[in-house]
Every structure is written in C-alpha cells, then in structure tokens.
Assembly symmetry: C2
Homo-oligomer: 352 residues x 2
C-alpha cells in the first residue's frame, strides 16, 4: 500500500476536503496512474451527499470522480497494454467478473459483479473504492483505456462518463449519415450528444429551453435549434426523427418528444428524472416507436469512442478548476452554471 492525496467528504453534509487515502501497490495486472485531470459528474455530487441512499448508500469518507485522465506511473509484471509514461484513462468501472455473458460480450457495464470506480466494495483493500479526486489511482489494466495523443487532456476527462453515455446509445440505435437526430438538453451530456451526432454524419437538431444557448448549439455542431417551449416550432418536426437522445434530468414532458419520432423511431433517456414521468401509451403505439434508457458503455466501446474522438478531434467543452474550487463548482453545477463540464486540474492537489 501507499498513500495518495485525495479530496474526500466525511459525511453527507461535509464539504470535500484534502485528505490522505491508501491505494494498493499495483498487482501483476494493475496499472498505477498519476491523475492529471478528473471531470466532475453530477453523480459525484449525488453520491457525496448520499442522495441515492435508497439504492447505493454512501460510505464515508467518500472520494468521488470517474472521469479520470492521467499518465502511467507503474505497471504490474504481466501488463501488456501500458508502459510508464503512457497516457491512460479510467471511467465509471474498475473491475467486473470477466466470466459472465455480459463481460464475454464486452458489455461490462451490465456485469452483475461490477465494481464501480467509487463507493463500491474494494476486494483488494476491504474498504470501498476511491475515485479520481486524487493524485493517483491503481486499476486493473482491463479497465484502463488508451488516450489518443492529439486530444486536450482536460477536455478528454469528461469523455469517460459524459462521452460514452451519449456515444453508446447513438451507436446502439444506429445513428449514421442521413439520419435525423434530436438532442434534448444542452448540458454536460447533451453538448457531447450534439458533437457525436454531428461527427456521425446525422442532421442534428438541438432542443433547449434557453434561447441563449442557440448560438452555442450551432457552434457545437447542431444544424437546427428548437426552443422546446415553443409549440409551433415543435410541431414542425412532428413524426420526423429517427433518434432522439434525451439528456435532461429535470422533470419534462417526454410525450412531446415521442410525437416527434418517425415510425420505428427511438428516444433514449440518459438522464434520470427523480420522479416517474407520465407516459401516454398512444404516442408509442401509433408509430411503433420505442422509449429506452442507456447507462455508460462497455470497455471495448469506450475505447472505440476515445479513438473516434481522436480521429474527429472531439473533446468536452470544459472549465478547468483547481481542486480547491470543487465545493464551489458543486454549487454552480446545481444551477447548471458551467459550459459544459468542470475538469479538475489535479496539479493543484500537489500544494495540499
């Protein structure tokens, strides 16, 4: 074991603060990574504040962070994919059982014995896993991703959650050139959705409640922007979409979007509103439309996404902050006051 610096929360009501945590020495198959940047995901805030106590109660101290980019510091004896000095990335998962049908299919995100990057039982040290708000992390090489060398590293970090969460359903539901694709909500997830749909060759329509985001949506790659509160604008697109990515976690009317789908069209939810959403069956029945959900992607698809980003030079639009500003960033996150993701420059942790 060795000691690593980290920012952790001591309770649901404590701010994140500088602390020291134990990391395991790399085993034969492990990669030790010096963390350079870690994105801030809304899940971090939910977990730190124990807002998922019903399904995933928080164990304190809690070190969040699952959008990790860094440089390989050490590798175990049998590691083949990485060597010291390589760029490397880690997302929401750090282990799985490797034997179930899901793992065999490269869909580790559905493995029943998945280990998430933070707040999950750590089979090595007996405590819970600690995430990326730290200067170092040790991860089995099977869960470490390669990072294309041309990408800005601060903007690469959010690809590991916001990126794969939006890329995966587009690939699953066949977004390609010639398709008409809608992206609902222009936040951390939605702005990545616009970039990916555009790069995949689709005709991209961004839906937002904020007229002020129109120019930004066009800059990100949208072909059209619809102010979703304008019923006339919405009506013009009735029955025309092949696919809609709904990245809004606040309560909103999904039926309005279902009616914009063409026959056999799909709308996928990647944001999960807290309260159940009223769903009118008729809109689904009439066009044989479907409504689905999607979490992150598996490891092979996450690598595919990063490689795709390398080829298309796609990163997240980020505001880089020192870790000392993380509590302030959480408050701003609650007000959607960030374009479009915070990325923590982990060099700032050295001074702690």
């Amino acid at each position: 074991m060795y000691k690593a610096k980290a920012y952790s929360a001591a309770s649901a009501t404590s701010p994140l603060a500088s602390s020291t945590i134990a990391r395991r020495d790399p085993t034969e198959t492990d990669v030790q990574i010096e963390i350079l940047f870690c994105g801030i995901c809304h899940s971090d805030l939910h977990q730190v504040r124990n807002e998922w106590s019903g399904v995933m109660p928080t164990v304190y101290p809690c070190v969040p962070g699952h959008e990790i980019v860094g440089r390989v510091a050490k590798v175990g004896a049998s590691v083949t994919k990485f060597k010291p000095g390589d760029l490397a990335a880690v997302g929401c998962m750090v282990d799985s059982d490797h034997t179930c049908p899901e793992c065999q299919a490269g869909l580790e995100q559905f493995c029943p014995n998945l280990t998430l990057t933070y707040n999950f039982p750590d089979k090595h040290l007996g405590c819970v896993t600690y995430g990326g708000y730290s200067d170092s992390v040790v991860v089995d090489e099977r869960f470490v991703l390669r990072v294309p060398s041309n990408l800005d590293l601060a903007g690469t970090a959010p690809l590991l959650c916001a990126g794969i969460t939006t890329y995966s359903p587009m690939r699953h539901w066949g977004v390609t050139k010639g398709k008409k694709v809608g992206i609902v909500g222009l936040g951390g997830l939605g702005h990545m959705g616009v970039k990916f749909a555009h790069a995949l060759g689709a005709h991209v329509v961004a839906f937002t409640t904020s007229p002020g985001k129109k120019e930004d949506a066009l800059r990100l790659g949208a072909d059209e922007v619809v102010i979703s509160r304008n019923a006339d604008e919405m009506a013009k697109h009735a029955g025309s979409f092949d696919f809609i990515l709904d990245a809004v976690s606040a309560s909103h009317d999904i039926n309005a979007y279902i009616n914009l789908l063409r026959r056999d069209g799909n709308i996928t939810l990647v944001g999960a509103p807290e309260k159940p959403m009223p769903l009118a069956a008729f809109g689904l029945i009439m066009g044989r439309r479907s409504l689905s959900g999607s979490p992150i992607g598996g490891i092979p698809e996450t690598q595919e996404m990063l490689d795709f980003c390398g080829r298309h030079n796609i990163t997240s639009d980020v505001e880089v902050i020192p870790i000392q500003k993380v509590n302030e960033a959480y408050e701003r996150l609650l007000k959607s006051d960030v374009k479009y993701r915070f990325s923590i420059d982990m060099a700032s942790l050295k001074s702690e």
Copy 2:
C-alpha cells in the same frame, strides 16, 4: 350501389339496431364478400359510444366491426387473388394510398392516407366506411386476406385485429425458440399472445391478476403463470425476460414489468390505458431496456399471420353469438365477461 343489412348505432347513447346501408357495387379491383362472422373488438364499443371524440369523432349512423370473415360473392374484372366461393377476410384497414414509403414497405398501417374499415371517409360513396356488423362488404382486393381452409371461421374472425396486433410485435422484436416471453393480461389480445408466443417456440409466462385464469392460461400454451399481485412471484423473474407483451388497457404499473426484462429486453404495449402511466427512467437505463407500442400489422404480415395460424391450427377462443345479442355482449365486454372474444354469427342477420 346495393342495399346491405347491418346493425348500426344512431347516436352515442343508442343501442345497435337493425338497419339498411348502401354498399358500392364492386369496382374492377373490388371483392364483394358475404360476411359469415365478425368479431367484437373493444374498439367497436369505443367508436360506437364516441369515446374517442377527441381524436376520431364518431359519424352516425355507425356500423362497427373490423374482424371480418366471409365468402367471396363477386369480384371485379381485374381481381386476380379471389374468385366467388373463396374464403376471405378483412381487418382494420380497407384502403391506403399505395404509393408512400410505408405502403411500399408493406406497412400500410402507418400510411398517412389510410382508410379504416369503419368511421373513416369513404372515397367511393362520400359517407363514412361501414364495418362488418353486416351481411356484406365490398373491399379493394389489396386489403382482402386469404383464409386457410382448415381454420374454424368463427374463431378466425378475431385474428384480423386481436391476432395481428399480438403477432406483429412478437415478430418485430424477434420472438423465437429459446426466448423467454411474458404476456400481461389474459383477455382478447392476451390470450392470442399466449398462443402465438407458444407456437413461435418461446418459453411463455402469463401474468394475470386473476388466480382463476391460471388453468386456462396453461391450456392456452403458457409454461408458467404468475399472479402479478404477488410481489414474491414477480421478484423471481427479475431481469429474465427477452420480451413482454403488455395487453392491459386498465391502469397498471408498467415499471414492475420493465424490471423483469433482461438487458436489451423490450416490453411492447398493445393496450392503451386512458391515463398517462408513471414511468421510472431508472428501470430502462439500467438494462438498456426499451418500452414500445405497436398497432396492427401491415397486409403482408397479416397474411403471414393467417398462414401461420393455418399451419399451427390457431384460432381465437370465441363465444359465438347472434347479432341480436350484440348490445348485451357490449355490457359483458365491459366486465371482461367473455372467454376470450365474441364472434357474431352473421347468419342471424338474415332473420332481421
């Protein structure tokens, strides 16, 4: 034009009563059918009582009926598929534009210029279309189906709506041998769902709120029956279904069924509850599951379904009634007091 006997409603509050309607003489492409049996669909009752006034207001007199089986009486000069004396069937549609992409794909049910079998503008006579509660009907041969000669005709009639409505989504979502399939609700639609899923080779689980229907479900082809109000029984099937057909129109908790789907599983609604259903996004997201809807099928698939029924000797379980009992049957329908579909013996109309 010629006169046909029919049962029609004069207003939303009138009972169905004997009347005379005009039918067109067959055009070159038409088939004139002597109706032998017509199934009673819940849609008939909704339309007769103007319960869909918001989307499809009823024009009176209204002659419902879109589960029609009969014998060809006459054919137009260019009709090639039928000759007098042939068995023939008509479902929910009697015309479409034949030129749109949906029609070209054999998915006439999605044609924007579809003509439904009753209460739709009749381009020939200028009034509305009149359905199958009649001794005769004239339909373009492209919307007339062939009936396998081995099938019981009374039980064949409901295949034209209840049958295709349950068959189509199972084919669309890939129900085959080795799949685990759930059927929710054992009514007119659900009992057909059980028969089809069984004949397609799936492991079939019927969900019902009525313990009294258990034996019947097994007789219809279910491998297992789950009483859906029993949470323990439900929990045993968590995450295990490839496909679930939800044939319940009454309000019910769809989230409980979504949680029974395995990764990438689909639940399709063919019943449309009147009120919006509360939907929890999390259940869809966690397993990349999907929820969809499905109406009837297109003409090629309806023929495929009838041919499939011929090969597997599948018909609907019906209670045959004379047309004089139709108003009583409607009252019983409201109480789900029928196993599982009423089929009107149209010979009874001769005495009117």
